[in-house]
């Protein structure tokens, strides 16, 4: 019985954190956040060089052969640092191909994805909050027509894994005929979204697309939960730090019990869920019969906590907390993203209820 991280896993988190401390300090984060494109190729290249692009891909294709838990640990650290970039979509696309692709598809794409030489993303959502495989309606086939929403950095992707009717997946390449990509203004400016329109666009289905799509969904839920845990933890730390420095009535505001209790409540809301996302991630590779439901609960629970903590953090900072200039808003918007992406908490709670046979 060892419900804890290995030394290698702790080191992985530490390395990613140090890299971002150096390569994406607050000023850089702010530039990217405020910038027009929101995509920093050098930063992503650096992350890929550290092995983050292929962490979970099989070693025979140049990946590191690690598990969903390791991806989730990276996700926590990225959430903690509010790291801008395409990690989430890229990781999920690779995971789907590794799980459901043909040998030819794997050989063609995974080595490039593992090094980061090619960037991939996933196109899941359709009009009306249709996020999940059984809700997809773009008809499967040798060419696809329809439109997909909320595709992370589709405008920079070489490859898009598209969800199709019946819960399958298909690959669409960057310059494919009839593919139109429209960047849209998204609240979270660290993970920009696009609309993807397909008009008779050539596509190649993944042979085991249905299995891959459910794994993709569950892994995505876990990665969002992990990101939320990291982000919420950071917001508690930022708010506590602020309470130790900001003075009113002649003392630091952390002296005031009302604020102290708010901060304690924020900590109590988030700290216990570390183990919840760990377990959900671990289950995806080791406790298959619990994986789907635990992922749903983890996503609903932790992203809900993140959103509330983000609201509390704004309040704890007073007027400055409400400004564009204050960094809290960056995490606040990531919380909005984590909560809404792939469906709100209510959707996943209802799924959890159904899966329990309630």
């Amino acid at each position: 019985m060892n419900f804890d991280l290995s030394e290698e896993q702790e080191m992985l988190q530490e390395t990613v954190r140090q890299f971002l401390d150096n390569e994406c300090p607050a000023t850089t984060l702010r530039e990217i956040f405020d910038g027009e494109v929101g995509f920093d190729p050098a930063l992503w290249k650096g992350m890929a060089e550290m092995g983050l692009a292929g962490l979970h891909l099989p070693e025979e294709y140049g990946g590191a052969g690690l598990e969903v838990l390791d991806l989730a640990l990276v996700s926590e650290t990225l959430g903690y640092m509010a790291a801008p970039g395409p990690f989430l979509g890229h990781a999920l696309a690779g995971l789907a191909i590794a799980c459901g692709g043909s040998d030819a598809q794997k050989s063609k794409w995974l080595p490039k994805l593992a090094t980061g030489d090619a960037l991939a993303t996933v196109a899941l959502a359709e009009e009306g909050g249709a996020w999940l495989p059984d809700q997809w309606s773009v008809p499967a086939g040798a060419s696809l027509s329809g439109s997909k929403k909320h595709v992370i950095f589709a405008d920079h992707a070489d490859l898009i894994v598209v969800g199709t009717a019946g819960g399958g997946l298909a690959l669409v390449e960057r310059d494919a005929k009839g593919l139109e990509i429209k960047p849209i203004d998204s609240a979270d400016r660290t993970r920009r979204l696009c609309e993807v329109i397909l008009a008779d666009t050539p596509a190649e289905a993944l042979p085991d697309g249905e299995v891959a799509a459910t794994r993709l969904r569950d892994a995505a839920l876990v990665l969002l939960a992990a990101d939320a845990f990291g982000g919420a933890t950071r917001l508690v730390e930022m708010s506590v730090e602020y309470a130790k420095t900001r003075e009113q009535f002649g003392v630091t505001i952390g002296h005031f019990q009302a604020l102290k209790h708010q901060l304690a409540n924020m900590a109590v809301e988030i700290e216990p869920s570390r183990g919840l996302y760990w377990y959900a991630a671990h289950a995806l590779d080791h406790v298959r019969d619990e994986a789907e439901r635990t992922a749903a609960i983890a996503k609903a629970h932790i992203t809900d906590r993140y959103m509330q903590i983000a609201r509390d953090a704004v309040e704890a900072h007073g007027g400055i907390g409400f400004t564009w200039e204050c960094d809290v808003q960056i995490w606040f918007k990531r919380a909005m993203f984590d909560r809404a992406f792939l469906g709100n908490p209510a959707l996943h709670r209802e799924r959890a209820a159904t899966m329990a046979g309630w």
Partner: protein, 403 residues
Amino acid sequence: MDLSYGEELEGYRDEVAKFLNASWPLKGDEAKLGWEEQAVRFRERAIEGGFLCRNIPKQYGGSEQEPDVLKAQIIREEFGKAHAPMEPRGIGTMMLVPTLLERGSEWQKEKFVPATIRGDLAWCQGYSEPGSGSDLASLKTRGELVNGEWVINGQKIWTSGAQSADYMFILVRTEPEAPKHAGISYLLVDMKQPGIDVRPLRQMTGGADFCEVFLTDVKTPEDWIVGKRGEGWLVSRTTLKHERNSIGSTQQTRALFSGLVQLAKERNIDGKPAIQNADIRQRLAALEGYVKAHQYAGYRTLTKDAKGESPGTITMMNKIISTNIGHDIARLAIDLLGEDGLLDAGGSGMAAMMSGGHERWISHYMYSLGIAVAGGTANIQRNVIGERGLGLPRDAAAERSSK
């Protein structure tokens, strides 16, 4: 990360299961005894086998095993499955015994520990006073050394189980000139003596589990002090630590939650099982998020303990987390009871009208509040988390009054 216990520990699990198979429930003539008597005999054998009272030395009636949190967990799991009795759950075994083992003198351990873990001695905790609750260190009950014995005068309140206790462990002020925390001593007192007047207090639940205790020239021998004069505050901290751990158990929370799910299956809303109601499903699933987070935080704590590493701030949070979950479960349960929530739990109330024990939810609705107060209120927990956990400055008023 590896959630299996490994070969060696699974071997140990088999050993525990084999013991239980042979020993619980009791067989032959012994099976006809009452549950309590059966439990006493079973516990003796379980101690002999090294399964209970593991951290208590053999000379004090324990089984003196190498500390091993994983084995302890396996024992809890297997005993739970077999519905076999664990150590008696009184305040004596949970709070006094660990304190005596850590701070008591040799004769105190010999006299009190074996009898307490056998369940022969019942204890009560005399800390709170009418004027001293959260600010416990302001307590006023006096202890004076007169002709080689302590003479105690004052009043305690909210003393759980005082009406049936053999002894009390009590905090009294022995050094009135010293600063507040340094003037307190920790004494053991025989409850069966003149000068002790126990008056049960009726709780909102209708029962009377706690009491007022008036002490007038109550006597206790000079050496019935635990630790030195003026060290009582420190000694009492050992006890409170144990109380927090015992309240923060994730297993109780999970059991309560599965009871709630069961309740939702048995109750109806609009003529259909409540579990099919969209709002109830949302609330149950939302609650389960907290329950599961608490559960896995428990796994992590267990692992950290086993490795001898600190689990961090989570240890300070367990009481408030389980209290919060208990409140949420209570609120949902009372909604599920609907109009039956108008009834009292006992008498001609709900117990009489319903089968299936649903009346316990009416009691739980109220008891969950008692738990929030007993052993340090939620606000006091938040102070601890804020100050010791997050490193925020100490409360100005508390700072002043501790001088």
